[in-house]
């Protein structure tokens, strides 16, 4: 009789502990899956300490590498832009041509040619921004099954479902933004701002109105998305926590002798999955930051070039040049805003993933 009870206990233990061992093996599998989806241009070693790899040193190194790689092109752009600024400023207030209309025409003509140069220079930058966003979208897309697996393995089935749905919606939005909206919007902004800068009429007001509506729209969409995702995640996490606690309580209360051990094992499993979750989530945030950093820095450096030239043009009193360069600068601001919003939404999703789920 004793033997039978002992055998039955072993069976019960095996029944409850088998999933725990299986889950431990799954942790390894999830980490290796995550490593396999990291883009080849991002060096991230999941075996060594993650916190050291994504620290401030790494960010500074990435900034240094980006600036070093693109410094030649940006310097050439800046020198040429500065040359154009000097030439445009020669059509300004200090111009020897007394006829105001002719002076304005010279300024507009020179600004148009400079605009062509600026636009053809920024063309490549805009394409690289699009490529970077598509890279982020692709990485995020391959990340969703892994994140869902982590949540499911840690017992947060509700969170897994909610977050997977949210991530898919975000992904669809980002894909639409990259493929359909970003470049046409950037071009429309450039053209409208440029025409507004040279025509001195209502087109400039339309361009600035569109820009401000767009910026407001981005802000509202980001806030609403983040808010909805956070609320859903909190509710799903609470539900998952309740289920997991109930399971642990049931295990410790209903299984004789080894029940508390099973409950502890569930806790250990939960801790292990929390580690995996932290590694995957933190690693994913790091990868997205590394992918997003280089184009963002490039955009900011181009913006800096415009700021310096605008300062020089203001100093020489060339109102037309200031308007033209300011138009390009503000259009670049809109592109930076879109790009930052897209990156931010991905990071918010991952932070919600990190903070949500079952805590055991």
């Amino acid at each position: 009789m004793k033997r039978m009870v002992f055998a039955a206990l072993i069976c019960v233990c095996a029944f409850f502990l088998f999933p725990i061992f299986a889950a431990a093996a799954e942790e390894e599998e999830i980490l290796s899956d995550f490593e396999s989806v990291i883009p080849s241009n991002v060096e991230l070693d999941m075996d060594s300490e993650l916190s050291q790899q994504i620290g401030i040193e790494r960010v500074l190194a990435e900034i240094g590498a980006t600036v070093g790689a693109s410094s030649g092109g940006i310097l050439a752009f800046f020198v040429t832009l500065f040359g154009f600024a000097i030439l445009i400023s020669s059509c300004g207030e200090g111009c020897l041509v007394e006829n105001g209309t002719l002076r304005a025409n010279m300024s507009v003509g020179a600004s148009t040619v400079a605009a062509f140069f600026i636009f053809s220079s920024l063309y490549g930058v805009l394409l690289s921004v699009k490529e970077a966003l598509l890279g982020i979208v692709s990485f995020f897309s391959s990340l969703i099954p892994i994140l869902t697996a982590v949540n499911t393995a840690s017992g947060a089935v509700g969170s897994a479902g909610t977050q997977a749905t949210n991530m898919n919606i975000t992904l669809a939005l980002l894909e639409r933004l990259c493929s359909d909206a970003l470049l046409p919007l950037a071009f429309a902004m450039f053209v409208l701002s440029f025409i507004g800068s040279v025509s001195d009429g209502g087109v400039g007001n339309i361009a600035s109105a569109i820009r401000s509506v767009f910026m407001w729209g981005i802000g509202i969409i980001t806030t609403v998305l983040a808010g909805i995702m956070a609320i859903q995640s909190v509710v799903a996490s609470a539900s998952d926590n309740a289920v997991l606690r109930a399971a642990r309580y049931a295990a410790s209360g209903t299984i004789p002798i080894v029940g508390s051990s099973v409950a502890s094992a569930v806790g250990i499993l939960s801790g292990g999955m929390a580690f995996v979750k932290g590694s995957v989530g933190g690693g994913a945030v790091a990868v997205i930051l590394i992918l997003a950093l280089a184009p963002l820095l490039n955009l900011l450096l181009y913006r800096l070039c415009f700021s310096i030239c605008i300062f020089m043009l203001e100093f020489t009193g060339s109102a037309g040049g200031v308007r033209c360069f300011s138009a390009f600068k503000s259009s670049l601001d809109a592109v930076i805003a879109v790009y930052s919003m897209a990156t931010l939404v991905c990071i918010v999703e991952l932070v919600i993933f990190l903070c949500g789920g079952a805590k055991g």
Binding site: L102, V108, F190
Partner: protein, 126 residues
Amino acid sequence: MIVKACALALLIALCAFVLRELGWRGAPLFCIIGALGIITLILPDISEAVSLFSSLSDEYGASEAGRSVLKIIGVGYLGGVCSDICRDMGEGGAASAVVLVTRVEIIAIALPHFLNIIRLGGELIV
């Protein structure tokens, strides 16, 4: 060079004053020719600056745009100075015509670049 220009200007002004006092009606024409002579003094410096800018824009891949901007400014200055001279000689009609031609010329130089912007934008959207 500035000393040369100042000396030449003073000499022209003095000569023009004397010619006007003598009742010669061609004094304004004399002044204009003298002013053109003064402008020719700075031509070597201008051509040096232009070639410097051209070589810089060639080096940084903006040769076409750089040349066009220089052309626009050159045409603008030329037309402006020419219309001022016509106006000084009391020929307002000729001055307006010169301004009109200059404006059309500036538009003609800038227009291909504007069309290029539209073409690039089309490529970007499609």
